[in-house]
Amino acid sequence: MDPSVLALYACCLLALAGGAGVIVLRNPVHAAISLLFTMLALGGAYAMMQAHLLAALQVLIYAGAIVILIVYVIMLLDQGREEVPHPFYPLGVAIGVPLAVLLVVISAPAFMGASAGPEPLITGPEDCTNCESAAVMVKKPDGSLVEASGCEDYVDTDNDGFTDCNDPDCHDNQLCYGTVRAVGGSLLGPFVLPFEVASVLLLAGIAGSILLTGRRPKELEDVIAGPAIAPAPGPQVVSGEGRGQA
């Protein structure tokens, strides 16, 4: 078997083991470290599937930033010292396990290529070894086989001896999906609109943090104490909680 495929399976197993660890381990810090392994292993899996940029981002953002954030939260809440009780939910297992099996059964054909539906046939010419991927034959709805698109039809523009994703007319190729160039090209090409709308989303996040860090207005209590407001239907009650915080 191809070593990269072996590495892919190893990464996937590690990711699964890490995920199981997050659920099973009782010490929150241990669970967080277990999550770190899952994130790293997923990054490795992406790398093995040619999604290099995604792999880098996965390590940078998830393994780097998010897990650290989780560890910080655990530290701030002072949760690391004691083990959380770990009740066993028979009902959860009774529902969860069959659901997981069902999910695998339903979605396996998509990944095994053994679906009742169309079958992708991987065929590659020998001279395309450095291609990011070989040509993929796909069955159309009418039953005919067509070549989805490979790199071998393209011109070796940069004269490095290969037609690959570095060649301009090849990097639009959908099979060159994982490279920085391909992802960047998508983000600022066909998907420029969602990319820009996402920036509005970030702005909304900032506005939200302004809103959520606001303090309870001091003036509220003065106003309630004063006689300026005519009584309205309902008893004159003020929620006492948190009044001292302002």
Partner: protein, 507 residues
């Protein structure tokens, strides 16, 4: 490859984004301590500058949609088809914008009572509205996702606006956690559908019309794989969550009770209308049958109408009662989504409009009666309202009757249109369930009326006075439109039908 960009089609969205940014910037330069002498004045924005910018932005966006589109009748696309402008989307955009304008007017009253700063609050409302508009123009799975997030994330923050109150924090956290989970489920569904389209057609695309075409073709050929069905179900679950359809409604009462009253009002109408429109755009037509979703949606609609209406019976808090009532109204809209003919789509549009104004009137009454330091939200607070303040009591009564579906109010024609479309499309039993559950709803919609007009106010209560003009305007506008839509539904029904035909023709 840079796609062709026609920003002229996107003017309403850009106006709202600009208004949001201007509000945030203007807020930084407003005097901080002004308004202290006026107990009902706004602490941070005594002249209502933030409110003014927000309203101008919303009105300008609405005016552009109403008058600025030119004579083009068909659908117009830009950004390689990622953004579409058609009559259907525009009609729902108008409904969403009208709901937002009423929500902003009510927010002014609520913010005055809470003495809260206004800038970030209005900016979040504007950004969420932008998300709604993008969602209504989305023809691509990526845009549906981004639009949905842009609509939801500001709402999570707004729900927790009263950070020092446990209820509000609970609402925000619950909405955030469950909402993110639902979005993740929907993304999983989109991923499976994307994989299916890639394998089946050999072309990797996130376009919804390509997905629908491939699903229909595969279904006709009998080779639709199980994971594509799973993808369809998961994609729909995310949207049903936003619609708070049973069994994805658990968050609704807590979030609606804990959120700022004006945000609850706005959420319950505009988010629901937008989600119904997206459901119609994605799942309307034969794709629903191809994905075997028809039966599922039937059951979900029936359960939503039944549980929403029965759970509302036992509530003592008016906001919670209206929350369950909104669950039930989501169920009626789902009936219209099932009957996705042009008549059915038009019925959903009319229903959304009628529900927007009818529901807003009820919430407007709650905010009208509230004052600094005290929020009116239980049935006990409404005791004797009918004798102390007959006009306000009448508004609440009209709102309840419209939600109930009593002629000649807007709600009646909404329900009538939905059920007529459903019967035409053969959903007779679902219509029977809808009518029976409407009968159940009479019990809890009558309760505020009974409390208001047949019990005495507790000693020592007086008329509520000193409301902001914004709340008065919202109150009057909501009730006038509710009555007006009921007395003269013809023009609006025709408009809805024309808009819906644009959707059905494009299928």
């Amino acid at each position: 490859m840079i796609p062709s960009m026609d920003f002229g089609l996107m003017v309403p969205e850009l106006l709202l984004i600009a208004a949001g940014i201007v509000v945030l910037l203007a807020d930084a330069f407003l005097p901080r301590e002004a308004g202290k002498d006026d107990p009902r004045g706004d602490v941070n924005d005594p002249r209502g500058i933030n409110l003014g910018i927000t309203l101008v932005g919303l009105l300008a966006a609405g005016a552009f949609i109403a008058f600025g589109r030119g004579d083009v009748t068909g659908a117009q696309e830009t950004f390689e088809g990622l953004f579409i402008v058609d009559r259907f989307g525009d009609a729902f955009k108008m409904v969403a914008l009208l709901g937002t304008i009423l929500g902003v007017l009510l927010s002014d009253g609520w913010l005055r009572n809470q003495r809260l700063p206004t800038g970030a609050f209005y900016a979040l409302i504007l950004f969420a509205t932008t998300g709604m508009l993008y969602l209504l123009s989305a023809t691509d799975m990526v845009m549906v996702f981004v639009g949905l997030e842009l609509m939801s994330i500001p709402l999570y923050c707004l729900a927790a606006a009263l950070r020092w109150e446990d209820r509000s924090v609970e609402a925000g956290v619950k909405y955030l956690v469950l909402g993110s989970f639902a979005t993740a489920v929907m993304l999983m569904g989109f991923a499976l559908l994307y994989g299916f389209v890639g394998i089946y057609t050999g072309e990797a695309t996130t376009r919804l019309d390509a997905v629908v075409t491939a699903v229909n073709a595969a279904s006709a050929a009998g080779e639709l794989p199980g994971f594509a069905l799973l993808g369809g179900v998961l994609a729909m679950i995310g949207l049903l969550f936003k619609m708070s359809a049973v069994p994805f409604h658990m968050w609704t009462p807590d979030v609606y009770e804990g959120s700022p009253t004006s945000i609850t009002a706005w959420m319950s109408v505009s988010v629901k209308a937008v989600t119904a429109a997206v459901l119609l755009r994605i799942f309307g037509g034969e794709v629903l049958d191809a994905l075997h979703l028809e039966g599922i949606l039937w059951v979900v609609a029936a359960l939503t109408m039944f549980l929403g209406n029965t759970m509302a019976l036992t509530q003592d808090n008016v906001k919670r009662m209206l929350a369950y009532s909104s669950v039930a109204h989501g169920g009626y809209m789902l009936v219209g989504v099932l009957a996705a003919s042009s008549a059915g789509s038009a019925a959903v549009l009319f229903y959304a409009a009628a529900y927007t104004f009818g529901n807003m009137a009820a919430f407007a009454v709650l905010i009208y009666l509230s004052r600094v330091g005290y929020e009116v939200e239980t049935f006990d607070d409404l005791k004797g309202l009918g004798t102390k303040m007959p006009l306000v009591g009448a508004v609440m009564g009209i709102s309840m009757l419209s939600l109930m579906g009593i002629p000649p109010l807007a709600g009646f024609f909404g329900k009538f249109a939905i059920f007529r479309a459903a019967v035409t499309e053969g959903y007779v039993w679902l219509t029977v369930i809808g009518l029976l559950t409407s009968a159940i709803s009479v019990a809890y919609y009558l309760r505020p009326i009974v409390v208001m007009f047949m019990s005495d106010a507790p000693a020592g209560t007086a008329k509520a006075t000193g409301q902001a003009w914004t709340v008065r305007v919202a109150l009057v506008a909501a009730v006038l439109v509710t009555v007006g839509l009921g007395l003269m539904p013809g023009g609006t029904l025709d408009w809805a039908l024309e808009s819906a035909q644009a959707l059905v023709a494009g299928r």
